[in-house]
């Protein structure tokens, strides 16, 4: 099976025997699918920068093709410019998202190592937990956007915990520890 593993990650946690494993498999297909057609990513519409960028491109295109008298051709050019801008914007966005994820993982691993080798002062635990939550939230938002489940809550040992700013999936060990720690910071779980 190892030849099918495309990517694997182990997420750090407080409980040593409860670390989450994320694995992405690439299974062989005798009839591979084609490249498919480009489809607009609707989540971009919630991005203020993207919407402003399109407004900018619109006025720029109007200016660049002001001599074009054929309205049908102008419409095609406009769509083409918007499409090119959208693809470019999406690529840049994906790149910055990956960089952010790598940075959070790096800081988390550094703290994880430090905590394992030290006496875990409360300030560090707080930083560690904040980072872990950021990463889980971040991962979940990406997976949700891709319409994939980051972690399956139906699997034994995983439970949904409501906590600000959004829903998290934590191991029981992590949940207990976070409950203890965050009672001091005013966080509450649903249950």
């Amino acid at each position: 099976m190892t030849q099918f593993v495309k990517k694997s990650e182990i997420y750090p946690s407080f409980a040593p025997d409860r670390k989450a494993i994320y694995m992405s498999l690439s299974l062989s297909n005798e009839t591979p699918r084609g490249r498919g057609l480009w489809k607009f990513n609707n989540s971009l519409l919630n991005n203020e920068h993207y919407v402003n960028k399109i407004r900018e491109i619109y006025f720029q295109t109007c200016s660049n093709y002001s001599t074009l008298t054929d309205k049908r051709l102008f419409w095609e050019m406009l769509k083409m410019e918007i499409r090119a801008t959208t693809i470019s914007f999406s690529k840049t966005l994906a790149k910055s998202t990956n960089c952010r994820e790598i940075e959070i993982t790096r800081r988390l691993q550094a703290l994880d190592e430090f905590i394992c080798n030290n006496l875990m002062p409360l300030t560090l635990i707080r930083s560690y937990t904040n980072l872990m939550i950021s990463k889980l939230n971040f991962k979940q938002s990406i997976r949700r956007r891709e319409k994939q489940q980051f972690l399956d809550p139906s699997v034994d040992g995983w439970e949904m915990v409501s906590a600000p700013p959004s829903t998290l999936v934590l191991t029981k060990g992590e949940e207990i520890l976070i409950k203890r720690l965050y009672l001091n910071y005013g966080w509450r779980t649903k249950r």
Binding site: E30, T31, P32, G34, L37, W38, K39, F40, N42, L45, V51, I54, R55, Y58, D70, K71, R72, L73, F74, W75, E76, L78, K79, I82, R83
Partner: protein, 158 residues
């Protein structure tokens, strides 16, 4: 599946699909063009007056296209250009006038723009039956949202 044989090669699969649906949608008829025209001329169909014709064939307006777009449900597959209903709704105030202008020019020239004339044909599985059998797949054509707006707006004028 062609003659109970499973085809796996991409080119062969595409060829088999094309052949199957070409045969399915082809029918032979002995009726001549003249016979068809004669049949239509003999029909006593109601006719529109010139005034009614002008009224029904008028140019499209920005507001009516906007209203039509608002009736479209979200989360539907887009056509060949990839722009979704949500995208069109979001930017209609910005781009809508240009779209309507393109429709009206198409009306004058009797021809839509290139992307508005294109559709993507894709196969969707029927509910029952083996998916290895081509007869259990149904072809659908995905058209651009632009085209759907124009179609519905024209239909509503009548």
């Amino acid at each position: 599946m062609e003659n109970e044989t499973i085809i796996k090669n991409e080119t062969q699969v595409l060829d088999a699909i094309e052949k199957y649906f070409k045969d399915l949608y082809t029918s032979e008829s002995n009726t001549t063009q003249e016979q068809c025209e004669s049949f239509i001329q003999e029909l006593r169909l109601p006719k529109l007056s010139d005034e009614e014709r002008d009224e029904f064939e008028g140019l499209l307006k920005y507001d009516e296209c906007k209203q039509i777009l608002e009736t479209f449900p979200n989360d539907k597959s887009p056509g060949e250009n990839g722009f979704t209903v949500e995208n069109n709704k979001c930017f209609f105030e910005l781009l809508g006038h240009n779209l309507v202008e393109s429709f009206n020019e198409a009306f004058e020239a009797n021809e839509l723009s290139i992307s508005q004339r294109r559709g993507v044909i894709t196969l969707t599985p029927k509910e029952d039956g083996s998916l290895l059998d081509i007869s259990n797949w149904r072809p659908i054509t995905l058209l651009d949202v632009d085209c759907k707006i124009a179609t519905k707006a024209i239909a509503k004028q009548r």
